[in-house]
Symmetry: C2
Subunit: 190 residues, 2 copies
């Protein structure tokens, strides 16, 4: 999506260790008008899919997911990160590995909010190694709901997450796919 | 706000220890259409205040803040919780006490996203003891920006946070003010 690629080139900051900071408009400050344009594109891509629920994970996915959910007219559910899961009967849970923070954490969703008849679209800001996305897929499967696909703002296409999730047969639509980042700038797969 | 009070009575669940769970429409599953109605009310209350920025705190405030920000046509900034603050020069930071989780954590906002000329509206889902709200006020003060006020979805008016913050001269508008909760139900201060 050219609008997004242009904005990343303009406002994204590349830091050591292949870190792309988009703090000024996506995940610390949020340009809600701009996210609204991205949400319209995700709606266009999944318009015919009878989505009933948007699933994301706290924290930075929540704002984007809410704006996407407005387009579809459905609720958002956000998976919660927790270090202390009481193996309760009322939640679905799985483990997610964070490569940024070098730890493993549990994510949970209350069973009340994911049902077998749900057709779920996953929304997240980044896709890199795919661990969070894989965890969300597992929660949907545990609920017996249908995984319609994922809508990702920025995919680091040089990492394995996108291929991993697509090879599972899950549709992944990324609005910007970063091919490489270096001193010379950011290049995209169009 | 009657719409919200009715929804809390209908879908809120009172748990032991004065816990009001509104997981089904505010802070686990988010009814974005409903939050849109609350956002319109917050816009009405602060319409003349030339708001330039919405400030909230991760995680459950983010979705609400984004929908409110759409009404005002301004960006959201969300303060991040962290246990390991590198005392960096590029962030404002303060401490917040969590009574739910019985710990103290640091919150940070990048200096890039709060400026002296900003007129900031704080948005959060709950106000109880006021620790998070107090922390956000301190971040705004550190930036030299103007605190226009706070828009809170649910205030537990039997706890001291609302009085504490109002006594600091900060305008606090809470869409629902819970007077008491017990087996007999929830009562509101109108």
């Amino acid at each position: 999506m050219k609008l997004l690629e242009d904005r990343i080139k303009q406002d994204g900051v590349v830091r050591e260790g292949n870190i792309l900071k988009v703090d000024s408009f996506i995940n610390h400050q949020i340009d809600v008008g701009f996210i609204g344009e991205l949400a319209k594109e995700i709606k266009r891509l999944y318009a015919d899919e009878q989505i009933t629920k948007i699933l994301t994970i706290e924290a930075s996915g929540i704002g984007i997911a809410c704006i996407v959910a407005q387009e579809f007219g459905v609720p958002v559910v956000f998976a919660k990160k927790t270090k202390t899961v009481n193996i309760a009967n009322d939640v679905y849970t799985t483990k997610v590995e964070s490569f940024t923070h070098k730890n493993v954490y549990d994510i949970i969703v209350a069973k009340d909010f994911l049902h077998p008849q749900d057709r779920v679209l996953i929304i997240d800001d980044f896709l890199a190694k795919g661990s969070a996305l894989h965890g969300l897929i597992e929660l949907i499967r545990a609920a017996g709901a249908t995984i319609v696909g994922a809508g990702i703002i920025i995919e680091k296409a040089y990492q394995e997450g996108g291929e991993l999730i697509r090879s599972m047969g899950v549709r992944v639509e990324s609005l910007a796919r970063v091919a490489s980042m270096d001193d010379g700038g950011i290049t995209f797969i169009s």
